[in-house]
Amino acid sequence: MTKPNPLNEREQADLVAFLDGELAGEAARALETKLSLDPAARAEAESLKRTWGLLDYLPKPEPSPSFTHRTLEKMAPIRTTAAMPLWRSLRRPWWIGAGWAAAILTAATAGYLGVGGDATDRHLTRDLRVIENKRFYDHVDDLDFLKSLDQPDLFEEDATGS
């Protein structure tokens, strides 16, 4: 038959903490007094201590002899990745990113051209050479100068197409 517990829940927790060396100050002193005066509380402490001691009967599991070797073996790929130069470790994500950017750009251009229709295509075709050479035209101050460059005698050799 189970005997009624001589301690309330808080005292019980204090007792366990006391046995674990975790109770200090006034609470510890109060519990010490209780233990010295109350045989039931002493018996409670004793049975808790003994129960705790039973856990020493549990076998101590040991790792298998190959544990260290297997662990270090698993670690090797991580170490290799970590030792890889930055540019190598970044290479794949960079290409993936560039691929995605190109795909998005293509899709956006196609979408834009699709919306613009034939008229846009014609404009782009007509202006293509201008667009291609825009960086040269940026240095040209006026249109007359540009036209003068078109005189055949200035670039005779080139004009022959040789």
């Binding site: 003994r50 129960t51 039973l54 009967y57 544990f67 662990t71």
Partner: protein, 217 residues
């Protein structure tokens, strides 16, 4: 706040294992192997007590070490190294137990005790004088069953306190609780253990409290 952080950092630096971990962080050859060598027995033992399966315990211990290695560059010594390691271990064990709960798995006790549950067996043994009959191995099985019957948090607290000799503050850090919470958890755990193992507490022939109280003073 800063003062507290500095103090704990200084305390941590006094921990020799923190210094080994800092060598691991610096990729010093052999440092990680040293750490594994130092902690493998403790980590596997704790995992085994928490999980109950030797193979799974080793796998989880290995995973804990690998996580330590992967996180080495971010490592900052804020507490004892063991506290950090067992926090990782506890998280892994908890995840494993939770995924196990989703699948029906038999409890982690050897089958030598027969088909009776621990409580039935203890009742039977109580009637027929268990102290003399129960062998050490069987007793270990019963104790392991009692440990396994605790809820997950109580079991973690017990294992860390008993086998890792961690104080309440360290257990609190590992489990993400307050020290007050740990105190209450351990108190309830020990009551449960005592209830489960009541028939075996005085098996060495020492007088039980009932007998003691009957003695003339």
């Amino acid at each position: 706040m800063t003062a507290i952080s500095e103090t704990s950092a200084q305390m941590a630096l006094r921990d020799p294992d923190v210094r080994v971990m800092l060598r691991v962080r610096a990729d010093e050859p052999g440092a990680f192997a040293e750490l594994v060598g130092q902690y493998q027995h403790r980590l596997v033992a704790v995992m085994h007590h928490l999980i109950g399966d030797a193979t799974e315990a080793e796998d989880l211990a290995q995973e804990a070490f690998l996580r330590v290695y992967r996180a080495r560059k971010k490592y900052r010594p804020r507490s004892k190294f063991s506290t950090w390691l067992f926090t990782i271990a506890n998280n892994l064990a908890r995840n494993s137990l939770r995924s196990r709960q989703r699948k029906p798995v038999t409890p982690f006790v050897s089958s030598e005790s027969g088909s009776m549950g621990p409580h039935e067996q203890m009742v039977k043994d109580n009637r027929s004088g268990p102290m003399q009959k129960v062998q050490r191995k069987e007793l270990a099985d019963l104790i392991q069953e009692a440990l396994a019957a605790l809820n997950e948090r109580q079991r973690v607290a017990v294992v860390l306190n008993k086998f890792e000799d961690m104080n309440y503050a360290e257990i609190a850090e590992v489990m993400g609780l307050t020290t007050k919470g740990v105190k209450s958890l351990l108190s309830r755990a020990r009551m449960n253990l005592r209830a489960a193992l009541a028939g075996y507490v005085y098996m060495d022939g020492a007088p039980a409290p009932e007998e003691e109280s009957e003695r003339p003073v």
